[in-house]
Symmetry: C2
Subunit: 336 residues, 2 copies
């Protein structure tokens, strides 16, 4: 079931904007303010998948997801003049929370654009970090337009969620850190939304452990990377339906795509039922609260879509920000 | 609200049976087969408690609790003749699971006595590790009598849940490991049931970091250690009612009591509502699944019963084996 992507790698791309040195710089920039998250062995998952499974616990990261890495790297990469202007973004999810947190840590003003339908908890969380929340329509394009208008009229610096070299470099620190403990895994499974984590992981693996195969995992309908790799260019998919609400961009970023095209071994698609089973397994057996978007790698193993055949996998659990009511329902219905 | 115990320490006790050297031996004996569990900073809990909070995540330990440490140390301390006889115990909870696991790891026969009312999941888990399960009545004394009868008639070696030097030494490895990363915490909060973890932690702290105060945390009704320290001897309490089902022994062990009397700074009592709030907090904020018995230290901090006043605390999250339905109910009802 693995769609191996033909690695041509010969053509030019914008991936030159991020390399291992940029990730190493990001790591230095983040030191002490993001957690070095644990890499935990799961023998039960290893038995299921037929190999050794190491879980990189970014659900335990500050702000509850790996997004803290890219956001803080971006904010700490600003010039003094840029810092004075403040930052903005149009994500109401983990990136929005992470940017609010990173800006507060650096004493930089942050304005986060959210849909008028944003859950109260997300609004409160961003405000809790000290960010200003502004509401703009109900769709992502409306939000993005409002944020871009604010950039143009009020001078904010846009910190986009994934299509940005500072973001990709920051997200790359997650795998760089994991490779300290497990230097040459056979495979790395990473969730793919806009592609920032996937691209950062892929470039780190290519530079540090070339025999490691990086697989991007997507929900079946939210397959923007799979489609892009097939088409050889970024494509826009129809609005997907999936419980993995962090993996729903309609298109991957141009920079993540360029890096993935060169360095990702393939993509794997998982169903919502498989994601749900993975969330339940992680909570009841691994004792870890992981959001649906963060559990897709485990879903790929549990469903048998990826078999390890005695090999070692690092599986990135990318975040833990799940609505308590959703987790309650999964636990009440889904487990023995 | 802290009941500071008067430290006399002058009289003889059976604590000579366990010392730091025994814990260091246990650590060597366990190496590679128990997880070195993460020690995670919780800034949110630190803010609540007014200090620095480090969570020792034994919920992520093999078999889902710290009990793996003592059980494996006990099994690996057996002579060849004892190994050939097989082991038994009368705990249907975390110790029973841990002994089943440890015995399987060592190729030793294990017979676990459980009440006829034991939940199917616990029976299946023990059998899953390869142990034989026998049913004996519905009360702890009935179970204990049946196990002792099996020892007398079939020659098994009894591995009791807490009142045993090999068990106390094994449980002590948890804090020993945490002190590698945080060598001189001001205070350590440990759950107290029969007292094995508390005693092991207290002797390790006394020997390695004498300025560290170890506090035992008990549910309000399951206060066997508090009562024993007040009385100056082990006392039997009425059957308690609490959601912390791992902390319900009617009396602490003689050995744990002797060590606690010398080395524990005091005990703190928490209510079930506070424990429930701690379980919800840990799942929704810290992204960790922790059973009620394992969450009492966090309950002590969140309730304000222990204030840190700028100091550093290690809080042992002793286990994660919570019924999914219970966790679902806590999540559905207890969180914002």
């Amino acid at each position: 079931m693995i769609n191996l992507h033909d690695l041509d790698g010969g053509e030019g791309s914008s991936s030159g904007a991020v390399d291992l040195a940029a990730v190493v710089d990001a790591r230095r920039r983040l030191a002490n303010d993001v957690h070095r998250t644990p890499l935990l062995t799961s023998r039960q998952l290893g038995a299921i998948a037929g190999g050794c499974v190491l879980l990189k616990c970014e659900n335990l990261q500050r702000t509850g997801s790996f997004k803290a890495r890219g956001a803080l790297n971006a904010v700490r990469s600003l010039s003094a003049a840029e810092r004075a202007r403040g930052v903005t973004t149009y994500s109401s999810g983990n990136h929005g929370q992470a940017l609010a947190w990173a800006a507060a840590l650096e004493g930089v003003r942050a304005v986060i654009f959210m849909p008028t339908t944003a859950p109260r908890t997300k609004v409160d969380a961003a405000r809790g970090y000290g960010a200003e929340v502004r509401f703009a329509g109900t769709t992502s394009p409306e939000r993005k337009a409002a944020a871009e208008h604010a950039v143009a009229t009020e001078g904010f610096v846009m910190v986009p969620p994934f299509d940005d070299p500072r973001i990709v470099a920051g997200q790359g620190t997650c795998l760089l850190e994991a490779l300290d403990e497990a230097p040459a895994p056979d495979v790395v499974l990473v969730p793919v939304g806009g592609g920032g984590l996937c691209a950062g992981s892929a470039l780190v693996a290519a530079a540090s452990s070339p025999a490691t195969r990086v697989l991007g995992i997507e929900p079946r309908d939210a397959n923007a990377m799979t489609r892009a790799l097939e088409a050889g260019q970024v494509v826009t998919i129809p609005p997907p339906r999936t419980i993995a609400d962090g993996l729903m961009p309609l298109a991957v970023g141009a920079l993540p795509f360029a890096l993935a095209r060169r360095h990702v071994a393939g993509t794997v698609l998982v169903d919502d039922d498989e994601i749900r089973a993975a969330v339940a397994f992680l909570a009841t057996r691994a004792k870890l609260v992981v959001e649906p978007s963060g559990a897709v790698g485990v879903a790929a193993l549990m469903s048998g879509r990826v078999r390890l055949d005695g090999k070692t996998a690092i599986v990135v659990l990318s975040g833990g920000n799940v609505a308590p009511a959703f987790l309650a329902e999964v636990l009440a219905s889904g487990t023995p």
